[in-house]
């Protein structure tokens, strides 16, 4: 088919959206990165879905906490009934625990990358225990407040304190489920490239989420106890 209509401008332009091109970049990564092999079956790109999915999920969770934060700020300004809570001291312990757990999980992730599976598994368990410790410490803070007869409906600040810690805690439970999944995951296979990339990507995703929970808690902690109305 060599005949083209003389004098007719092609209806489709080359480049974006029209005109033939050789297969270009696709969802599984650009062939430029490792030109010698078929980019489409790049195992690393295929496993990337776990990392992408986690970033997307975090955007959504961030919006939930953005909504609750703006409610916090608006509600604090809407009336004169705001009575700031005295910070339960145990929250400092919570904060320390979750920061340390982030560090141990980061080491676990790097151990897997280096192929040290024993250390990887041990650090996962340590992280999960630290996470449980964090939740216990949060529950203890609730107990301390309840002992002072400060409940969810006592005043707007306590409402938000219980709400934000509970919402964060529920999301952290998701992180613990992720850690449990990583720990109980059947023996890691390193012979198969796709399987190895997949387990690394899943570990990266859970680690990312855990760091996010860590950062989120620090943010909430600052919002609850350092941000002041007026």
């Amino acid at each position: 088919m060599v005949t083209t209509v003389t004098g007719t401008k092609p209806l489709t332009k080359a480049g974006f959206g029209g005109g033939p091109k050789s297969p270009g970049p696709n969802g599984n990564g650009s062939p430029k990165r490792n030109g010698h092999r078929d980019a489409f079956f790049d195992a690393r790109s295929s496993a990337n879905r776990y990392r992408i999915g986690m970033w997307v999920a975090m955007a959504s969770i961030l919006m939930l906490f953005t909504a609750l934060s703006s409610a916090y700020i608006v509600r604090a300004a809407s009336a004169n009934d705001w009575q700031p809570l005295r910070m339960p001291r145990v929250l400092l312990l919570s904060t320390a625990l979750i920061i340390v757990s982030s560090i141990t999980l980061e080491f676990a992730r790097r151990n897997l990358k280096r192929g040290e599976q024993g250390a990887h598994k041990r650090l996962l368990v340590v992280t999960a225990l630290l996470g449980l410790g964090f939740l216990g410490s949060q529950l203890f803070a609730w107990k301390q407040l309840a002992r002072q007869s400060i409940y969810v409906s006592s005043n707007p600040h306590s409402s938000f304190f219980y709400l934000l810690t509970a919402t964060h805690g529920v999301h952290l439970l998701g992180g613990l489920a992720g850690l449990m999944f990583l720990t109980l995951r059947s023996r890691l296979r390193t012979d198969n490239e796709l399987a190895a990339e997949k387990s690394q990507a899943q570990t990266d995703a859970v680690t990312l989420y855990w760091h996010f929970m860590d950062g989120l808690w620090i943010y909430l902690f600052l919002l609850l106890f350092l941000w002041r109305q007026q």
Binding site: G17, G18, S22
Partner: protein, 613 residues
């Protein structure tokens, strides 16, 4: 190892057990159909409610014996009481917006066709996809429970409207019939729905970013995929805000907090704090709920209509046998609409007493959405311009979509201006506006999509003659219903009222009200023609070839219906953009995306310099 042999071993067989294959299926196609069936059921419930509302508006006080039998509390002696009407308003809106306009376009058609159109064998996370549907399904069951267990015999759900404005929605049973258990179930249903939609959105975005096949660059995707992607981004960022608001609302109702309830309220003869049924509240902000709700609510409008825009662009190009006019502009317009959609929620709240400066800002941003919307409209018209159009049923509905989008969008420019919105906001003018542009236009997009993709999903065409009857009655019908409503609104007829018999200035409108109701009933009955066509064509429709409409995109390269893994183990390679119709020199008037470059194209250098060969 060649790509083909590598791919051939990737072939997946479907599960064999009935439950894994059709109920708890991980296959995006089955899940898409499940979503569509959910929407088809929900829309009957919502439509029935609108007919009941129209009956009460045009013939108030009439005795409908069947209503008296079905709802002895809501229509004692067959005469509908006002609370019953208000609960109809609430449930009609809720079911239509959430369980029809959000499920069918995105969860239904998006789920079915996004992976196929980008050349993937399934969604990125099939298990999450299944969860997304079943969570949504539970949400639907809970909203139905709100109908039957509203806590009051005289209503079929809460009476506060689909927007659930506080403090009415935050107070509990004391605020009125249906505001007790009915409202609790309403909030829980919406919260569950949010979670289901978020799982879906997560999956859509990851799939589109990660699983496009070889050669499927972003700018080679069909516009439908761009629309579903943008919709998923909107859902991802807006549903969490509604979820957050819902949690606060539920705490106000059940835990005694005061996020939305101001102090000193005096409701049903009881002062806040003087009675156990009305605990003390102080300092809450009802406007805060409006902000949280509409921050979700406005993007939700685009969640409903963007997939329709995508389907319309796709179908117009296919049946005009021309490339879509301005592909790149269309992509940017979709994104611009989605982005601006996050900054205009205040235009729903002009009458809430907001500062005129904020109102001005929201107004300017709202009117600026007119720019990308006009880009889309002109490009649709540009696509149709000078084309030899094939007037098939899907094409008629797609053209209908453009018509309705323009007709409904024009009044958006009116309502987007604060000074005009203030007097018109609580009138039928707004009802007419959003029904045309968000309700009916989206549904027309879905009708177009159904007639267009039915041959792919089932392997048979839907009846064209029944489809055309369906189109013309529905098209004329919706204009006859909603154009008079604009007039009612201009005269000052307030929306949400159960009847107007007490307003002498509205009595001369009564013939118009009756006319609208009669047309509405005819139009609703016509929809059963569509249902009949749908079911009849599954068994008796004309057999469809793999490429039923001489179209170009990837779904038409596989069999009808597609196999379990979409492409029978061999993923396609894409060489072209999605709308290569009427390419000079090509043997057919369409070139499929999988068609490799021809000798002429290679020599001619991407179609430039057609003389040289």
């Amino acid at each position: 190892m060649s790509a083909e042999t590598h791919e051939a071993v990737h072939r997946h067989e479907p599960p064999t057990s009935f439950i894994r294959k059709y109920i708890f299926s991980l296959d995006h196609k089955v899940i898409g159909i499940q979503y569509i069936i959910l929407a088809l059921v929900a829309v009957i419930v919502g439509m029935t409610m609108s007919v009941l509302m129209r009956m009460n508006l045009s013939w108030p006080g009439t005795n409908w014996p069947i209503l008296g039998t079905l709802f002895p509390g809501g229509a004692p002696g067959g005469v509908m009481n006002p609370e019953f009407y208000l609960s109809l308003v609430t449930m009609h809106g809720t079911i239509m917006v959430f369980f029809v306009l959000t499920t069918a376009p995105q969860g239904g058609f998006g789920n079915y066709f996004l992976p196929i159109q980008i050349g993937a064998e399934d969604m990125a996370f099939p298990f999450l996809n299944m969860m997304s549907f079943w969570v949504t399904f539970v949400g639907f069951i809970v909203i139905l429970a709100a109908i039957f267990f509203s806590g009051s015999a005289s209503t079929i759900g809460p009476i506060g409207g689909w927007t659930g404005y506080a403090p009415l929605s935050a107070l509990g049973q004391i605020a009125g019939p249906g505001q007790g258990m009915g409202m609790n179930l309403w909030i829980i249903s919406i919260a569950i729905f949010c979670v289901g939609s978020l799982l879906g959105a997560l999956n859509f975005i990851t799939t589109l970013l990660n699983m496009r096949t070889r050669g499927m660059s972003l700018m080679r995707m069909p516009l439908t995929c761009w629309a579903w992607f943008t919709t998923a981004v909107l859902a991802l960022l807006s549903f969490p805000v509604l979820l957050g608001g819902g949690i606060l609302l539920l705490l106000d109702r059940l835990a005694g907090t005061s996020f939305f309830i101001p102090g000193g309220l005096y409701v049903s003869g009881i002062l806040s704090g003087t009675n156990p049924s009305f605990p003390v509240h102080t300092g809450g902000s009802p406007i805060l709920w409006q902000h949280l709700f509409w921050f979700f609510g406005h993007p939700e409008v685009y969640i409903a209509i963007l997939p329709g825009m995508g389907a319309t662009s796709h179908i117009l190009s296919t049946f005009a046998r021309k490339p879509i006019f301005g592909y790149r502009a269309m992509v940017f317009a979709i994104f611009a609409i989605g982005l601006l959609g996050f900054f205009v929620w205040g235009h729903h709240m002009f009458i809430s007493g907001m500062s005129p400066y904020s109102a001005m800002t929201f107004s300017i941003l709202t009117l600026s959405i007119g720019v990308p919307s006009a880009v889309k409209t002109f490009n649709w018209i540009g696509t149709l311009w000078g084309a030899r159009i094939r007037f098939t049923t899907p094409m008629l509905f797609a053209i209908g979509f453009v018509s309705l989008f323009v007709a409904g969008g024009i009044t958006g420019l009116v309502l987007g201006q604060t000074s005009l919105d203030l007097p018109m906001h609580d009138t039928y003018f707004v009802t007419a506006h959003f029904h045309l542009v968000m309700g009916v236009a989206s549904i027309f997009g879905m009708f177009a999509a159904t007639y267009f993709w039915f041959p792919k999903m089932v392997g048979r065409f839907m009846s064209e003659s029944l489809g055309k009857i369906h189109f013309w009655i529905t098209f004329v019908g919706v204009y006859c219903i909603f154009v008079p409503m604009h007039v009612m609104g201009l005269v000052g007829m307030p929306r949400r009222y159960a009847q107007f018999t007490e307003y002498t200035f509205l009595t001369r409108l009564h013939p118009l009200v009756v006319f609208v109701s009669v047309v509405a009933i005819i139009t609703v009955l016509t929809q059963f023609l569509f249902y009949f066509n749908l079911i009849w064509s599954i068994f008796k429709g004309k057999k469809a070839p793999a490429n039923a409409w001489d179209a170009t995109t990837l779904e038409w390269t596989t069999t009808s219906p597609p196999p379990h893994d979409n492409f029978a183990g061999v993923l396609p390679t894409v060489y072209r953009g999605p709308y290569e119709f009427a390419v000079p020199g090509a043997p057919n008037d369409f070139v499929m995306q999988t068609e490799p470059e021809t000798e002429a194209e290679r020599v001619g250098g991407n179609g430039h310099n057609g003389h040289r060969h």
